[in-house]
């Protein structure tokens, strides 16, 4: 298995360059390779220069360790992998806070997350994917109904709308559901222009939510992978 160095993007000074092949790896998120921890015992490093050490310790957030641990040739110390997992968790929490704070998601989404466990580890993504699939169909139906010059069947449109509203509220997509309410109000008044503008907002909100949820699932996938590399590989 290919073993590469992995350098997390935290504010750390570069490690000591004493033992050759220590690369600074500033690749973008998508390109960051995984690394495997090589279970060789770590060597103690003697600081070459007390002055340099003092300087390093000023900026090194890990100076409490008393010494610098060099980046091993073939991998990272275990505790560094913890940083990657921590960063991913922070990213995930930040994204979720944003979504809740903006009213895009509500506590029903939390309920979905609570229902996910070892016996059903992909429950949230399964349900959300079903939601995406259904929603796109419903949105297309709504648009084709409204764009039809001879459109008059508000009842039929109402059925699609109710379905969309129901599944959005079951997912916890609060903002989308609220736009659906406005859409329904326009539909009750047979206000076609109002319905069209509501539909536009709906499509926009839906795209936004879909992108954010994809992002969330990507972070979660990365977390699973990061957790996976904590265990030493057998050669």
């Amino acid at each position: 298995m290919q073993i590469v160095n992995y350098y997390p993007t935290v504010n750390l000074k570069p490690f000591s360059r004493e033992k050759g092949e220590i690369k600074r790896n500033v690749k973008s998120e998508a390109e960051k390779p995984l690394c495997v921890w090589n279970p060789k015992p770590l060597k103690r490093v003697k600081p070459t220069n007390k002055k340099r050490l003092r300087e390093r310790e000023k900026t090194n957030p890990f100076s409490f360790l008393g010494q610098l641990i060099p980046l091993a040739k073939t991998g990272l110390p275990l505790w560094m992998l913890g940083l990657a997992a921590d960063r991913l968790r922070a990213d995930m929490n930040r994204l979720l806070s944003f979504l809740f704070h903006q009213g895009i998601l509500d506590e029903q989404f939390l309920q979905l997350q609570q229902l996910q466990d070892e016996t059903s580890p992909n429950f949230v993504s399964e349900v959300v994917n079903i939601y995406f699939h259904e929603s796109e169909k419903l949105l297309r139906n709504l648009r084709s109904l409204l764009m039809d010059r001879e459109f008059s069947d508000y009842n039929k449109m109402g059925i699609h709308l109710n379905q969309f509203m129901g599944s959005s509220s079951s997912i916890g997509a609060k903002r989308i559901r609220n736009v659906c309410l406005a859409f329904r109000a326009a539909s009750d008044q047979n206000n076609r222009a109002g319905c069209l503008s509501a539909l536009e907002v709906l499509e926009h909100e839906y795209c936004f939510l879909k992108n954010k949820l994809h992002e969330l699932f990507q972070i979660q996938q990365q977390r699973v992978l990061a957790a996976g590399v904590r265990y030493p590989m057998q050669h």
Binding site: Q108, Q111, Q114, L115, S120, E126, I130, E134, G166, S170
Partner: protein, 189 residues
């Protein structure tokens, strides 16, 4: 007998035309350790229960025991039915009426779910025999409210069965099934 052996869990029949809501209610119920069957329409629910219309006479003849978990003939034991209100074709309300009109299934508790908070609708359902009315989206706290209704059904059945056992003699009581989980130990599975 087969009664006590087959039913170690409550069996809930969930009816909803929305796939997402079916998945959600299925997961909620499974998390609460219930066995779940999810169908997408009222007619499929009746089919599952064996209540097609032509079976009515057979069911009326058999005693209340057939409502229990006994897998006699074509009937499947169901302890609770939870159904959406708004469904194409047969609504949840129609389904409720049909269940309550059937002699063999009227004792099964029925719960209605709806995304619309319409008091007249809620009252009508409760008056016509629904045990509970849940507003969607359904949460775990709602599902927890089902337990007393299920337990009530079981104690009634146990009483009836102990009555029939007495009639049939003592052999049944001494069967090896005594070591199997009984009705009052419902958290077994």
């Amino acid at each position: 007998m087969g009664n006590m052996a087959t039913q170690t869990q409550f069996h809930v029949l969930a009816v909803d035309d929305s796939l997402i809501d079916r998945k959600l209610i299925e997961r909620l119920l499974k998390t609460s350790s219930y066995q779940v069957t999810a169908v997408d329409s009222g007619s499929k629910a009746l089919e599952f229960l064996g209540l097609n219309g032509e079976n009515e006479d057979e069911e009326r003849n058999s005693s209340v025991e057939s409502v229990s978990a006994a897998d006699e003939d074509h009937q499947v034991g169901v302890n609770l039915i939870i159904t959406d209100y708004c469904m194409p074709g047969m609504t949840g309300y129609d389904l409720l009426r049909k269940i309550k009109q059937s002699s063999s299934f009227k004792d099964i508790p029925v719960v209605i779910m709806s995304s619309e908070n319409i008091p007249s609708r809620i009252n009508r359902c409760l008056e016509d025999g629904a045990e509970e009315f849940f507003l969607k989206p359904v949460k775990l706290s709602d599902v927890n409210k089902l337990r007393p209704h299920l337990m009530k059904g079981i104690t009634t059945k146990t009483e009836m069965q102990s009555n029939t056992n007495k009639r049939k003699g003592s052999e049944e009581i001494q069967s090896p099934d005594r070591t199997r989980p009984r009705y009052n130990e419902l958290e077994v599975v």
